[in-house]
C-alpha cells in the first residue's frame, strides 16, 4: 500500500509543508470572510480585519452593519468549516490507518446513521416545546445518537470470540447503520411533517453557523484531535498487520478502541452542528498521501490543515453561486470531491 513519496523525505523539507498548510488555512479563511453575496466590497474586508488587530488602525471604510455581516455571519461559518473539515479529515485518516483500508470514512462505524436518527427523533418529538429550550436538542440528540451507534457497533463487533478483527468491526458497523436507517425511516413515516427539516439537516450545512455552535464543538474536537495526533506513530506501526504489531509490543485492541472512541467523539460533535458532510473525510487523507507519502506521522496532522482549507473553500461557492439561495455544502463537496477522487485513483494506477 505504500505510495512512493513525491518529494524528498529529508527532515528539513518537511517543515515547509506545515508552514504551507497553516498559511493556506489562513489565506482561504480570509477568502471566506471576503467573499459573499452581500457585505463590504471585497478588498475592504482584509483591511477591516487588520484594523481589528490591537495596535493597528486602518480606515477600511467598512460600516458597523457591514462588519456585523462579516463577523457575526461569515466568521462563524469559516471557523466552523475549519473545525469540521479538520476533524473529519483527521478522523478519516485515523480510521484508514487503524483499519488498514483506504476506503473508510469517518462515518464508518455507524456515526452518520446514529446521528441522523438522533436528529430525526429530536425534530419529531414534541417540537413545539423543545424549540424553546435554551439548549437546542437537535445537536445534542445527534451527538448522543452517533456515540450510541458506535458503542453498539463496538459491542457487537467484539462480542464474538477473540477474533476482534477490523473486518468484524466494519461489518458490525454496516449492520448498525442499516438498523439505525430503518428506524429513522420509520420515525419519518410517522412524522412526515418534519421530512423537510430532517432532509436539509442530512444534506449538511454551515448556513446556520453561529459562535454558539463553535463554542459547542470546540472542546470535543480539540480533545479528539489531541488524542488522535498522540497516537499517530502507533497507527503507523499497526500498518504492518495486527499480529505483527502485537509482536512489536502494540496492544492492538486497546489502540483501536481509543482511536475509535476519540474519532467518534469528534465526528459526532462535527456532525451534530453541521449535518452529514461527505467526501471530506475520505478524499483529503488520500490527497495528502499522494503528496507526502503514507506515513501517518505526517498524514494525520497535515490532513487537518488541508481538510480545514478544503471545507472553507467548499463553503464559498455554496453561498455565491445560487444567491439569494444557498446550495448545501454536501453537494459542493461531492461535486468537486468525486472527480478529484477519480483523478486520484487514476494517478495510483499510473504509478503501479
Amino acid at each position: 500500500m505504500t505510495t512512493p513519496t513525491v518529494f524528498a523525505a529529508s527532515r528539513g523539507s518537511r517543515a515547509i509543508w506545515w508552514v504551507l498548510g497553516a498559511v493556506s488555512v489562513v489565506v482561504v479563511g480570509l477568502l471566506g470572510l471576503t467573499l459573499g453575496p452581500a457585505g463590504p466590497t471585497w478588498w475592504r474586508v482584509p483591511l477591516a480585519v487588520l484594523d481589528r488587530l490591537p495596535l493597528v488602525s486602518i480606515d477600511s471604510g467598512v460600516t458597523d452593519a457591514q462588519w456585523n455581516i462579516v463577523w457575526q455571519i461569515r466568521a462563524p461559518r469559516v471557523v466552523l468549516a475549519a473545525l469540521v473539515g479538520a476533524m473529519l479529515s483527521l478522523a478519516g485518516a485515523s480510521y484508514q490507518g487503524v483499519f488498514r483500508n483506504p476506503l473508510v470514512d469517518p462515518y464508518l462505524l455507524g456515526v452518520a446513521a446514529g446521528a441522523g436518527l438522533g436528529a430525526t427523533v429530536a425534530f419529531a418529538v414534541n417540537r413545539d416545546a423543545t424549540a424553546t429550550w435554551p439548549i437546542d436538542p437537535v445537536p445534542l440528540a445527534a451527538f448522543v445518537g452517533g456515540v450510541i451507534a458506535v458503542a453498539l457497533t463496538y459491542t457487537i463487533g467484539t462480542a464474538f470470540g477473540r477474533s476482534r478483527s477490523a473486518t468484524t468491526l466494519v461489518l458490525a458497523g454496516v449492520a448498525v447503520t442499516s438498523l439505525a436507517t430503518a428506524v429513522q425511516t420509520f420515525v419519518l413515516q410517522r412524522n412526515n411533517d418534519v421530512v423537510r427539516q430532517v432532509y436539509s439537516w442530512i444534506l449538511g450545512r454551515l448556513t446556520s453557523a453561529t459562535w454558539g455552535d463553535v463554542r459547542l464543538v470546540l472542546p470535543y474536537i480539540a480533545v479528539s484531535a489531541v488524542i488522535l495526533l498522540m497516537y499517530r506513530r502507533v497507527i503507523d506501526v499497526m500498518r504492518v498487520g495486527d499480529d505483527e504489531a502485537r509482536t512489536l509490543g502494540v496492544n492492538v485492541n486497546l489502540v483501536r478502541i481509543v482511536v475509535v472512541l476519540a474519532a467518534t467523539l469528534g465526528t459526532s460533535a462535527a456532525v451534530a452542528v453541521s449535518g452529514l458532510i461527505g467526501f471530506v473525510g475520505i478524499i483529503v487523507p488520500h490527497a495528502v498521501r499522494l503528496l507526502m507519502g503514507s506515513s501517518n506521522r505526517i498524514v494525520l496532522p497535515l490532513s487537518m490543515f488541508v481538510g480545514a482549507a478544503f471545507l472553507i473553500a467548499a463553503d464559498i461557492p455554496g453561498r455565491i453561486l445560487t444567491s439569494p439561495s444557498e446550495t448545501p455544502i454536501g453537494i459542493v463537496t461531492a461535486f468537486f470531491g468525486a472527480p478529484f477522487f477519480l483523478f486520484l485513483l487514476r494517478m495510483r494506477e499510473v504509478r503501479q
Binding site: P37, V138, T210, G212, R215, L254, R319, P324, S325, E326
Partner: protein, 317 residues
Amino acid sequence: MKFSRLVGIAGLFLLAASLVACSESSGESVATDTTNAVAAETTIVEGFPVTVGDLTLESKPQRIISMSATATEMLFAIGAGDRVIAVDNFSNFPEETASLEKLDAYQPNVEAISELDPDLVIISYDPGNLVEQLTTLSVPVFTAGAVADLAGAYEQIEQLGALTGQLAEAVQVSSTMRSEIDAIAASITKADPPLTYFYELDPTPYTVTSNTFIGGVMAVLGLANIADGVEEGNDYPQLSAEVIMEKDPDIIFLADTKCCAQSAETVAARDGWAGLTAVTSGSIVALDDDIASRWGPRLVDLVRTVAEAITSVLAKS
C-alpha cells in the same frame, strides 16, 4: 500502553469536561422557532411603536420581505403590498408578486436578505438559526407560523396589520372573512350521519386527519374524515388503498392537482378506485394546491368550493 499516556488522556478528558461545562454555562440561547403560531396580544391602538409577540417595531416598515406565501397574500390583501420588496419563490399570488425579487425560504441566504436592507422580515418557517442570525444583524423578523384553526388565521391577519400600520384594513379583511365563512358554513345542510371525505395530499396517498388546520376547517363544515383514528398520533398518515376502499368516502378532495397532475380522470383510472362511490357519482373535487395549503384571505374560496361540493353530493343522494 504507557502509564504516562493514560494519565495524559485522563487529564485531557478532565479538561474537556471543564471546557464543556464552561461553554454550556455561557447561557447561549439557541431558540429555534417552530412552525406553530406565536400566541400574541395584538395591540388595539393603531400607530407606532407597536409590539406584536416578541417583536417591537419603532416606525412603520417601508421595506418588507415576506418569506411565506400565505403572509404575502395577507400583506397584499390588507394594503401593505406596495411596501413589499421581496417574496419567497412560492409566493405566486397576487399577480404583483411576479415582478418582485424571489428568495428561497427553505435554504435562505442571510447575507442576501440583509443586503436588501429590509425593516421587517416575515417568515413562517425557520430552517435553523435564521431568526437568531437576522436579529444579530438588527433586522426585525416576525414568525407568522402555520396556524392551528380558523381563529388563528384571523388573528394572524390582524397581527400583520398591526405590524405594517394597516390595522384598520386588516380588521376589516379578517371580519369579512369570518362573516363570509360563517355564512357559508351556516348555509350547508349538516347531514346526519355526516358525509365522509378523503383528502388527498399526494398520490401515494398521504392524507390529513381532523387534527390539522385543513381537517379542522372540514370539520367545521360538518364533514367526517375517514383517516381519523386510523393511525394514532400521526396527523399526516399514508393510508393504504384498501382502507380507502373499505371506508368508501362520499367525497374525495384532491390537493395534488398542481404538484402531481391528479384529476378526477386519473383517480378513476387507478386500479380498484373505479368502484368507489365518490368516483361513480362524480364527487371528486379538484382543489388548487396553493389555495388548499395557505391560510390567508383565499380561505373563503376554499370553503366555498367545499360547500358547493357538499351541496351537490347531498342533492344527488
